[in-house]
Amino acid sequence: MTPTETSTTDAGTTLAGPKPGSAVLSEAEVARIRTDFPALDQAVNGHPLAYLDSAATAQRPWAVLDAERRFLETVNAAVHRGAHTLAALSTEEFEAARETVAHFIGSKPDEIVWTSNATDALNLVASGIANASRGRGAPESERLALKPGDEILITEAEHHANLIPWQELAAATGAVLRWIPVRDDGTFTAQDAASAMSDKVRILAFAHVSNVTGFVAPVAELVELARAAGAITVLDACQSAPHRHLDVATLGVDFAAFSGHKMLGPTGIGVLYGRSELLEALPPVRTGGSMITTVTMEKTEFLAPPQRFEAGTQPVSQAVALAEAIRYLDSVGLERIEAHEHRLARALVDGLSGIPGIRIVGPASGEQRAGLVSFDVEGVHAHDVGQFLDAQGIAVRVGHHCAQPLHRRLGLTATTRASTYLYTTDADVERLLDSVAGVRSYFGAAS
């Protein structure tokens, strides 16, 4: 982005960096926080663990582990069925967890659908629209139906989870999948998006924060473009919901998806947010128990959202634990977590920029980026980089990060990604930088 565009977007609330005045977490606070995370307190290959892979999966604090265990030890029972005391308590906790998530992102509780993860949530939207397109659902489902020639617009930087479901939806309906091309650094501007927009676009789906580049999408501008074209917006919030205050009402998106395990919660649980009237219009995808009103041998009447989308036994203890994770994040403060990661990302970018043979992908130094940095080490494959770092107890992600088209566009097959969270220390970052500085000579790639 040019400086002008940066200042324009910074005027909006969704794109600005950490709010001025939000105190960055102090070293002492981070040290205190780390004592809540048992998995961080271990040696790997003879070195203290430096966990820099939270963008893949975050570690969980005792509070979350304890909440799940406490639920399983004292309450555990089926929800929304049965009349016994534990069943009632279980249902109460399950629905209270939904309210916690709703409050966390500024939605109504019945706009929150439990899924197994963000991938599942995005598939639910795409498959639901496919069902609407073949005439399933209620009369109001017609508004979601796609027909041949309609367009689905995404970006070239998407995680496969926000690409392949749309490929499948296009194949199922005859709609055309198009994308906003990214620039050489993997980013795009609101202007790039406007150029790719057309009045045939019915769905605009994009990542809030790129899991590869850390680029923060200009959400307000994208939503405005979509609205002007009469398209719905689908936000992949996997890399934003855990790290920054997310308010769906302010953002104005129609759907949003995120995963529990990236935000201190359990695996096996994810969230789909859908604006009420759209969830109401979305036909069910998975069918079976717990999502019906009347079933005959010939046909079925479905429950209203969110139960319509929650067939079968739900991840109840995971939902309860996710709510605890949200309380934990709230207790620290998302603004402060974001500010902490912002500072660490700057240290990563500045430090890596000073190492010969390192190419950082994504926004340039000084421009806004989330707390993760992917980079290429000239002459050394990312898997070798990851192995070298692992031998020193440093955990990073290597590979294409489920974004092959983006890597292809960047002229790379794989990168190494270091990602931060509230428990990441300056020492973690320094160890990574020290270690990366030695990679090329180890593999004989330094000239």
């Binding site: 898997h383 070798d384 192995q387 070298f388 031998a391 294409h400 097959t413 180890y442 593999f443």
Partner: protein, 155 residues
């Protein structure tokens, strides 16, 4: 360099990145594309994106591997493994190469428990350490699996 510390207990990578492997990863044998070949197979490791195409040229009677060429992109383990394979396969009979691939697979699946036979595997014994790094076994196997598929084409 790992070579100076190979075998040192202080370096957990020493068993993985033997000097032979690092050398082959840099100075690769057989790393070129042939205009024509008797068999060709493309293999890809979807988890890391490593890819390789192996090409075979057999003797006129089809009994001997005259040339094993390959091209691709990947980590040092997969590239070095292809280089070693190329050197070992050339001049061996098809039957010998088959048997060598079987031995290499057995070694790679051994999780470090097997003592490899240098008479059969030559430089490929250096990959014994890779078998302890379960995540990297597929890297080492990539070109060998492709070569096996080539042999199946000409069988």
């Amino acid at each position: 360099m790992i070579g100076e510390t190979a075998g040192a207990a202080s370096d957990p990578l020493a068993g993985l990145y033997q000097q032979v492997i690092l050398d082959h990863a840099k100075r690769r044998s057989g790393d070129h594309e042939l205009k024509s070949a008797d068999a060709e197979h493309y293999e890809r490791n979807p988890t890391c994106g490593d890819e390789i195409t192996v090409q075979l040229v057999l003797s006129p009677d089809g009994a001997v591997v005259d040339e094993l060429a390959w091209h691709g992109a990947g980590c040092s383990i997969s590239m070095a493994s292809a280089s070693v394979l190329s050197e070992l396969a050339e001049g061996k009979s098809v039957a010998e190469v088959r048997s060598m691939i079987d031995s290499f697979r057995e070694l790679m699946r051994s999780r470090g428990t097997l003592e490899p036979d240098e008479d059969v595997l030559g430089d490929a014994v250096a990959f014994q350490g890779v078998s302890k790094f379960v995540m990297r076994v597929k890297c080492a196997m990539l070109s060998w699996v492709a070569a096996e598929a080539c042999l199946a084409q000409v069988a």
